[in-house]
Symmetry: C2
Subunit: 354 residues, 2 copies
């Protein structure tokens, strides 16, 4: 696996997926090529035909063979998964979550930054620059639940949130390490330990214990309901948030909304132990309603490419992508012209190249 | 049990609880007395000493005897439960949730209205006037979970979300009935059925089935993460939301934030079958940091009293309370004077009396 800045080739598994996935991924790759060109590093891509089309054609979501081949890559770039023609859950659980779980992406990293020039729906957002470390392999996402007597008046359906010391500790440690590297060095645990007492107390005790390893990081705690309030009234207070899989899902969409929308929200599904490739994807979904119209905003994918570069030890190129996006966003604020998906990609690619 | 507008006495169980609970409940009762005075209806109150003080003194959270006595009342007015000196979960699960569960408060009703004169943290909130029907007796709130090997590296903690056709259908039917009575007649189901497939599909099928009984109600569906986005970017789209216990907890705090804060957010824990008294409480917590300072805003409690009146068949008095609050909020917007908890209560009481 290529894991530092000296490799001359980055081998990417590309899962464009459904809806706008193809369009945004294309722009992400365009920017990646452009930012790496000066260093002579080449990007090799293997496209994986996964998602609604494949499922309709073959019934497969993600085979062992797919997984085996994906694992041979340095990283995965994913567009979007999900289509209304496929029963809900089939692709999400059989493909997207299967990738996250099988490749042990236990750190689901979602930065939220209000870039200059970007209008927040909040009247007074202040400076917003935090990152959510969402647990990626446990919680209510394990598929650990079931149903009895489905379709009868006696139906019962359960969903089990599974939390282990092993799983919680490793993600909490990662979050502390990220907080320790930031200026404010502050970590907020979000949970609901007054109701979900077993899981919540495990999270709380773990944060207290791991704090000893990072004595310069300050911590606080918010119930998930209160967190949604502060994301509305005072998002500046957040630096690093660590939380479980489901709460992280909810909070990061809200966080995306207050920082200009999911068109700008990047994410990284990281395997910090590097036992398998990490995966980079925009937070937005497949948006079938605008697929093919050229209206999709590729910025979230491009920022995800920035996270990919950072993960591969290419901090400089990562910063260049982020700077190019930032400059592009400032320009967007001052012009009224509407660009297509491809134009936005080309403009940002031109910036990183120049 | 008194359940219509003709009773000459309303017997209230009053659980002031912790922190600011006492202060806000006092104002709620002040307004209740004032609005009922013209009709000659008296309010009889029984105070229940429940919460942190009682627990510290006796170790009790809510005894069978307490419950038996509470059940003899027409309704319950609750201030706030929770204190940092009590281990997290003890009072929430042993008292607040025990009341909701034992008294079968399966409809947790939380209206969100942006009153004229109230500043939303959203730059362009539009007209916001929706109600969340949160399921109150199932989901991840059942206390159905546990932990093994606590405090060891092999610890595992689970939380089980329990959903039954019985429980989902009755709250969905209630939500449809409420939607049918509103102008827009629109119901949004919020869940996460692409991940929580068993519970999510039960909810979805139930909404589809019950829709047949309410053919003039239109419906749509949002994943909970997407719902937090629309609450930020377009809250006007919502009319009635029906959702599970945990999603409802999260969304209603966010909804409170966009409509001026939890100082204004009322709630009703309703037993629609009237087999036990319903309970009315502000959404905010005990706020121990401002307890005793006179800074607590009693408006949410007063609006909860409005919901109480409505539940007891006192539609006119309920509307009067809502109108008085609305007028008070308009006045707040135009004056800079800061009033105490008691002054706000007295001012609103004067309005309903006049
Ligand atoms: C599509 C869905 C399974 C996914 C999730 O819930 O994690 C998405 O909402 C996300 O946040 O990446
Ligand atoms: C205090 C807590 C148990 C409660 C809940 O989670 O329901 C509160 O947040 C609420 O919304 O009424």
């Amino acid at each position: 696996m290529a894991e530092n800045g000296t490799d001359q080739q980055i081998n990417l598994a590309v899962v464009a997926g459904d809806g706008i996935g193809t369009e945004v991924v294309e722009q992400g790759l365009k920017v990646l090529d452009a930012v790496l060109a000066p260093s002579g590093t080449k990007v090799g891509t293997t496209e994986f035909d996964l998602g609604a089309r494949r499922w309709h054609a073959t019934g497969d979501t993600l085979t062992d063979e797919d997984l085996g081949r994906i694992k041979q890559h340095d990283a995965i770039l994913l567009g979007a998964i999900g289509d209304p023609t496929v029963p809900s859950g089939v692709l999400e659980r059989g493909l997207l979550l299967k990738l996250r779980f099988t490749l042990d992406h236990y750190v689901n990293l979602r930065p939220s930054k209000l870039f200059p020039g970007v209008r927040s729906p909040l009247a007074e957002p202040g400076e917003v620059d935090f990152v959510v470390v969402r647990e990626g392999t446990e919680g209510p996402y394990t598929g650990n639940g079931g149903a009895l007597r489905v379709g009868t008046p006696a139906e019962i359906a359960t969903e089990v949130s599974v939390n282990t010391a092993f799983g919680v500790e490793r993600v909490v440690r990662d979050a502390f390490a990220r907080a320790a590297k930031r200026e404010r060095k502050h970590l907020t645990l979000v949970h609901k330990h007054n109701v979900l007492v077993h899981a919540g107390h495990l999270w709380r005790r773990t944060v207290e214990a791991v704090n000893a390893e990072f004595p310069d990081v300050t911590t606080d705690y918010l119930h998930v309901d209160a967190a949604t309030i502060f994301l509305t009234t005072n998002p500046s207070r957040f630096d690093v948030i660590v939380t479980d899989n489901l709460f992280g899902d909810i909070l990061t969409d809200q966080a995306a909304a207050i920082t200009g929308g999911i068109g700008l929200a990047a994410s990284a599904n990281i395997n910090p132990d590097r036992t398998a490739p990490s995966m980079f994807e925009p937070v937005h979904g497949s948006a079938p309603d605008i697929a093919g119209t050229g209206k999709a905003d590729p910025t979230a994918t491009i920022l995800s490419v920035g996270l990919l570069l950072d993960h591969l030890g290419r901090a400089e190129e990562s910063a260049a992508v982020q700077a190019a996006v930032s400059a592009d966003l400032v320009e967007r604020a001052t012009t009224s012209s509407v660009r297509t998906t491809a134009q936005i990609g080309a403009d940002i690619a031109a910036r990183v190249a120049g």
